[in-house]
Amino acid sequence: MSASDADIVRAIARCENQAVKVAAENVLRVESRKREYDQLYGTLTGIGLLRARMGLSHAPYWKGSVANDFSISADGEYARYAELKAKVGRAVRVHDTWQQVRRVVLWGGGVSLATGAGVALLVFAPDLF
């Protein structure tokens, strides 16, 4: 996310707004300041994303310059909780289906085994009948 030093130097050189230029020099050319600034930038970007996805872009605490800088339009992402519920629903269906298959396989196996044993006895020990 963070630009390289060379990119920052080039961007500052191109900047025509003196106030922005001075601020950028002061903040982005000092490593410790840039690190903290980047962290805050990441937090605000994340909050902007969360607010857009959760319909909180017009909430009372998201106004002014921060909101202008970090508000994004909703990206059509789904609700995570609904997705979790859908996944659980699918997992339950798979589990139920597997249980049914397992039951059929077990019954089928048991019946086949019994039939096989009966046939074997009939063939190899007809005296028993």
């Binding site: 020099e25 903040v27 600034y37 962290q39 805050l40 994340g46 909050i47 605490y61 996944k87």
Partner: protein, 336 residues
């Protein structure tokens, strides 16, 4: 739809005894780690442990810390949705109190924490007026406007105050306070209201004996959680009463950790004034007057009198009674 595989946080939620508490823990950890330090200090980890001791969440702590430190915004969105879904009524307020305590535990709010706290308030639908009252109640100073680290003067004033602090208060370094704390507190040549707030904040922070505060706060915490649970059951019109109490500044919490602020004379006076107001008394009331007022109010608002009425009225009465009793106990300790 995304992959149908469960993410680690989804698995954690599904295996949690209470998904809302797990979601709350993740959001609190995110708030704690939005302080610009990038790590969760032992002190903050201990605080989170203490605050969430009665959360019904007993595993996956490391995963929570990892998700909060990254931070994983997919997990945070899920946590926020769960919180929005399950935290309603007074429980929202309880959670926000926890959040404010986490954010202000180590001194002034960092810029990131300002924005995360405001996001949480908006998420839970708590109006700015109510949130500011909550903040003042928990932190002991007003919620300021977040500063702008993209401006050069922010860094200049911050670093000059750091320098002054280290030259003047070198012997305080043993307290292990972070530079951010020092920044929040040391603005001796303050010009604007923001700087004045910072200076006031520092003074208050020093006046408060932090450890005693934490210890007493912790003791009061379980009671508040239980109370929040009761209030949640009797939600409805109850919440408006709670909001009113906070607007009036007569919160239960203010007295539940009574002696915690005793070191700060201003805060102590303020608390005593609030306690007297709860009992309907003026300043300089005598001990006998306090006792008389308490007996009268306790009789009037005793929960047994509301037994025949609705559960909501009963809960409201017991809260009111508890507030009166806390105020009385506080004043009796002051007069002892």
């Amino acid at each position: 739809m995304a992959s149908s595989r469960f993410t680690p946080f989804e698995r954690l939620l599904l295996s949690s005894r209470n998904e809302a508490d797990t979601a709350a823990l993740l959001l609190l950890a995110w708030l704690a780690m939005s302080d610009g330090q990038g790590t969760l200090s032992d002190r903050k980890r201990t605080l989170l442990d203490e605050l969430t001791g009665d959360f019904r969440h007993d595993h996956g702590y490391q995963l929570i810390v990892d998700l909060a430190s990254a931070p994983d915004f997919v997990a945070l969105q899920l946590a926020a949705e769960v919180l929005q879904r399950y935290y309603r009524g007074p429980r929202r307020e309880t959670f926000l109190r926890q959040a404010i305590h986490v954010a202000t535990h180590e001194g002034a709010l960092a810029a990131g924490q300002h924005h995360v706290l405001r996001f949480l308030a908006d998420l839970l639908g708590v109006a700015p007026e109510t949130f500011e009252i909550l903040f003042r109640d928990v932190a002991g100073y007003p919620l300021a406007v977040p500063e702008d680290p993209s401006a050069a003067h922010y860094w200049r004033s911050r670093e000059s105050s750091d320098h002054r602090y280290s030259s003047q208060q070198g012997h305080h370094g043993a307290h292990g306070e972070s530079s951010r704390e020092r920044t929040g507190g040391e603005q001796d040549n303050a010009q604007g209201p923001r700087e004045r707030h910072r200076r006031e904040r520092r003074d208050r922070q020093r006046e408060h004996a932090k450890d005693r505060h934490d210890e007493t706060w912790r003791r009061g915490w379980r009671w508040r959680r239980e109370e929040a649970g009761q209030r949640e059951q009797a939600h409805g019109g109850q919440h408006s009463d709670e909001g009113k109490r906070h607007r009036e500044g007569f919160s239960n919490e203010g007295f539940s950790h009574g002696g915690a602020y005793a070191n700060g004379p201003d805060t102590g006076n303020e608390k005593a004034r609030r306690a007297l107001a709860v009992l309907g008394l003026m300043e300089n009331a005598q001990k006998s007057e306090i006792k008389r007022a308490y007996r009268r109010l306790a009789q009037k608002y005793h929960p047994d009198r509301y037994h025949a009425q609705s559960q909501e009225a009963m809960v409201t009465a017991s809260l009111r009674f508890q507030r009166i009793k806390n105020a009385y106990d506080y004043l009796m300790r002051q007069h002892a």
